[in-house]
C-alpha cells in the first residue's frame, strides 16, 4: 500500500551547524518526488531522515498521518537503494534480495516465492545464485532495487542510484525505474544531482539549496516558471543566460528595461509586468533560455559579442557568446545557421522580450513568460 509522506518544518543540526533549515513538504501516495540540488544542499540528509538513518533534530515526519520520528528504519517499512548498491558481498543475489524476509522470519517457501517474483520482475532470474562481485554495475543496481521491492514497502527511497553507472546504462536504468514505478505505483522519493534524471522521472521536483527548499513543482513548471535565479540556473542545459539590467522604467503598467551593454540606438525591452523589480539592493537581472535566443548581424543588434565556443551535439548546436553585461557565457541554440558559426565570429544577440524572465535584486522572479 503506497503511503503518503509529510515533512513538517524539519531541521537537522550537526555539531551546531544547520544542515536542513525547516523543510516542509508532502508526498502523495504513488507520487514520484525527486529531490535535486548541488552537492551539500542536504538532499541526501533529508532522504536519510525519511529512512530513519539520521535523527531529526526538530520537526515532524509523518507516514500516512502518523508521526514516525522515533520509529527505527525497519518499522517504517521503506525500501532504499543506495548509491553504492550496498549488496552484502558474501550473499548470493537471491540471499541479498531475501535477507529482509529472512529477518522477518517468513517461512522459507513463501520467501523463495517472493524472491523469485522480485527477480523475475527485474529479469534477474538467471543470476539467482551469483555473488555481487560477479555482476555488472547495472545488474547490481537491479539487485539493489529487487531488495527494496521484495518487502512491498510503504515507500521507495533512492539515493543517487545511477551515479556510479556509465552514461548509456544510466539512461537505460532511468527508463527501467520509470517503468517499474508505473507498474508498481509505489510512493518514491528519489535523490539526484542530475537535473536530467529529475526532469525525466519526477511527478514533482523539489529543488534544494543550502538546506532550504527553493521551489517545488512539476518538471516543466520549474523549467518555464522558475521562482528564483537559483532554480532558473539549476534547471536546464545549457543553463539560462543572466544579463544585467542597467535601468528599469515603469511606464503605463509596463516595464521598460535597458540592459548593460545594450546598443544606444536599440529600443528598450518592454515587459508586461507591473511588479516593481527594483525593490532591494543589487542588480536586477534578466534571464533568457538558449532556445529563445537567436543570432543576428552585430550591427544594429540589441547586444553584440563574440562566439567563445560552439558545441555540436548532433540534434542541436549551441553557440556560447561572450557578451557585455552577461555574468557568464550566453548559450544560444542555433537553427539553420548552425554550420556558418565559428569561434571568434562577431555576432549580435536578439530575443523576444515576451520570453524573458526578470529577477529582482534578491534573485526572486518577478516575471516569467506566459504559457
Amino acid at each position: 500500500m503506497p503511503a503518503s509522506l509529510e515533512l513538517r518544518d524539519i531541521h537537522k543540526e550537526y555539531g551546531g551547524r544547520q544542515i536542513i533549515k525547516g523543510v516542509s513538504l508532502t508526498v502523495a501516495p504513488s507520487e514520484f518526488l525527486v529531490l535535486v540540488g548541488p552537492s551539500g544542499c542536504g538532499k541526501s540528509t533529508l532522504l536519510r531522515m525519511i529512512a530513519g538513518l539520521e535523527e531529526i533534530s526538530s520537526g515532524d515526519l509523518l507516514f500516512d498521518g502518523e508521526r514516525v520520528n522515533d520509529w527505527d528504519p525497519a518499522r517504517r517499512r521503506i525500501g532504499m537503494v543506495f548509491q553504492s548498491y550496498a549488496l552484502y558481498p558474501h550473499m548470493t543475489v537471491a540471499e541479498n534480495v531475501g535477507f529482509s524476509l529472512k529477518l522477518a522470519k517468513m517461512p522459507r517457501a513463501e520467501r523463495q516465492q517472493r524472491v523469485d517474483d522480485a527477480l523475475r520482475t527485474l529479469q534477474l532470474e538467471e543470476l539467482h545464485d551469483n555473488k555481487p562481485s560477479q555482476l555488472s554495475g547495472g545488474q547490481r543496481q537491479r539487485v539493489a532495487i529487487g531488495r527494496a521491492i521484495v518487502r512491498n514497502p510503504n515507500a521507495f527511497l533512492f539515493d543517487e542510484p545511477l551515479s556510479n553507472l556509465d552514461a548509456s546504462l544510466r539512461i537505460q536504468m532511468r527508463m527501467e525505474i520509470s517503468r517499474l514505478h508505473q507498474r508498481l505505483r509505489n510512493t518514491v522519493v528519489y535523490v539526484t544531482h542530475d537535473q536530467v534524471e529529475a526532469m525525466t522521472l519526477a511527478d514533482r521536483i523539489v529543488v534544494l539549496e543550502g538546506g532550504v527548499i527553493r521551489q517545488i513543482g512539476a518538471p516543466l513548471d520549474l523549467y518555464e516558471r522558475p521562482a528564483n535565479r537559483f532554480v532558473a540556473g539549476f534547471i536546464g542545459t545549457p543553463t539560462m543566460a543572466f544579463l544585467q539590467v542597467a535601468r528599469c522604467e515603469e511606464t503605463s503598467g509596463r516595464l521598460a528595461v535597458k540592459l548593460v551593454g545594450q546598443d544606444e540606438h536599440t529600443p528598450l525591452l518592454e515587459l508586461d509586468t507591473v511588479a516593481s523589480a527594483t525593490r532591494g539592493e543589487g542588480p536586477v537581472t534578466l534571464g533568457i533560455r538558449p532556445e529563445h535566443c537567436r543570432l543576428t548581424a552585430p550591427d544594429g543588434a540589441m547586444l553584440a559579442g563574440t562566439v567563445a565556443m560552439v558545441e555540436r551535439l548532433g540534434a542541436d548546436t549551441f553557440a556560447f557568446l561572450d557578451l557585455p553585461g552577461a555574468e557568464d557565457t550566453v548559450a544560444v541554440r542555433l537553427g539553420e545557421d548552425a554550420s556558418r558559426i565559428a569561434v571568434g565570429d562577431r555576432v549580435g544577440l536578439q530575443f523576444d522580450a515576451e520570453k524573458a524572465h526578470l529577477f529582482d535584486a534578491g534573485g526572486i522572479a518577478v516575471r516569467s513568460p506566459a504559457r
Binding site: G52, A74, G79, F82, A86, Y88, H90, F99
Partner: protein, 298 residues
C-alpha cells in the same frame, strides 16, 4: 616483490646478490629450528660430536626416537599439552567473540563516549603486560572463584592454580580489539544501513553482515592471540605453582631442570613448536591477506 618484478632491468649479478641475501636471512631464521629438530633425534654424544660443523643442522649419523619416548614417558607433558590446548582454544574462542563485539560497538554504533573509549584502547596498547602482572596477580589471588573438591563444585578463595586464571584475564585484549576496529571501520557503512532498513538489529548486523565480511581479521586475531597464549610463560609461573593447571611452557622449564640430556629438551621443544607451525601453515593465506587488508604492519 616489486624489486624482483622489475628484474628485467637489473643485471644478473644484482639479482644473484639479492637472492643470496634473502637466502642468508632465511637461514638465520631456519637454523635454530633445524638444530632443534635434528638434536631431538640425537643422543647427547651425537649432539656434541656434530656441534662444531654443519652436521648440527642436518639429520645425519645415528638418529634415535628415544628422546621422544623419554619425554612422553616421563613427566606430564600430555597433561600440560592438554592444559595449553584448553587455555589457548578457550581464550581465542571467547576472545574472538568479546573483542570483535567490542570493536563492532566502537566502529559501527553511535553512543556517547565512544571516541573516549577508542582513545583509551590505544593507551592500553602501550602498557606492557609485565607492568600490570603483579597487581593483577594480587587481584586474582583474592578473587573468589570456583573449584572442585572431592568431585564437588565448591567456592574457592582465590583464582590461583586454576585454568581460568590463565584464560579470563586474557579474553579481552586491547590489541585484538584494535585490529578488529581497524578492519571494521574499512567496511562501508552502507552495508549496516541497508541491513537496518531490511529490519536487522545491531546484533544481527554484526552476525550477518560484519562477521562474514571479516574472515581475514578473525584469522589474524586467532593466530596472534593464540600464539601469545600458547607461549604464555610469566603469568602461569606466578599464578600456577601447582601441576594440575600447568601449561606446556612452564612444564618445559620444569622438565629442563630435571634432565641433562639436550636431546630430551629439544624433543620437548619440538612437540611444543609443531602445533603452532601447523596452525600458521593452515591459516597463512588468511593471515597474510588480513595483515595487508587491515593496513597493520606485520
Amino acid at each position: 616483490m616489486s624489486v624482483l618484478s622489475t628484474g628485467r632491468h637489473q643485471s644478473v649479478s644484482l639479482r644473484f646478490a639479492l637472492y643470496a641475501l634473502m637466502l642468508l636471512l632465511a637461514l638465520v631464521f631456519v637454523f635454530p629450528f633445524l638444530f632443534m629438530l635434528t638434536a631431538s633425534f640425537r643422543t647427547n654424544e651425537q649432539i656434541f660430536a656434530h656441534s662444531g660443523s654443519i652436521g648440527a643442522f642436518v639429520p645425519t649419523g645415528e638418529l634415535t626416537t628415544a628422546n621422544y619416548a623419554y619425554v612422553l614417558g616421563n613427566g606430564n607433558i600430555l597433561h600440560f599439552f592438554l592444559n595449553s590446548v584448553i587455555i589457548t582454544t578457550l581464550t581465542v574462542g571467547l576472545g574472538l567473540i568479546v573483542n570483535s563485539l567490542a570493536a563492532f560497538s566502537l566502529a559501527r554504533l553511535q553512543w556517547r563516549g565512544r571516541e573516549a573509549v577508542a582513545s583509551l584502547l590505544v593507551v592500553l596498547l602501550v602498557i606492557p603486560f609485565e607492568a600490570i602482572s603483579v597487581p593483577l596477580m594480587l587481584l586474582v589471588a583474592h578473587l573468589p572463584g570456583l573449584g572442585f573438591e572431592a568431585g564437588r563444585l565448591v567456592l574457592t578463595r582465590s583464582w590461583l592454580n586454576t585454568l581460568y586464571v590463565q584464560i579470563l584475564p586474557f579474553v579481552a585484549n586491547a590489541f585484538s580489539i584494535y585490529l578488529f576496529y581497524q578492519f571494521f571501520r574499512s567496511i562501508p557503512k552502507d552495508f549496516d544501513e541497508a541491513a537496518y532498513i531490511d529490519g536487522a538489529t545491531p546484533l544481527q548486523v554484526y552476525r550477518h553482515v560484519i562477521v562474514p565480511s571479516s574472515k581475514p581479521v578473525f584469522a589474524t586475531v586467532s593466530i596472534l592471540q593464540g600464539l601469545a597464549m600458547w607461549n604464555q610463560y610469566l603469568w602461569p609461573v606466578i599464578t600456577v605453582p601447582g601441576e594440575s593447571a600447568r601449561p606446556l611452557m612452564v612444564g618445559m622449564q620444569q622438565f629442563f631442570g630435571h634432565t641433562t640430556e639436550w636431546g630430551n629438551v629439544m624433543a620437548y621443544a619440538t612437540i611444543i613448536t609443531v602445533p603452532v607451525l601447523a596452525a600458521f601453515v593452515i591459516f597463512q593465506r588468511w593471515f597474510v591477506r588480513s595483515v595487508i587488508g587491515s593496513g597493520v604492519k606485520g
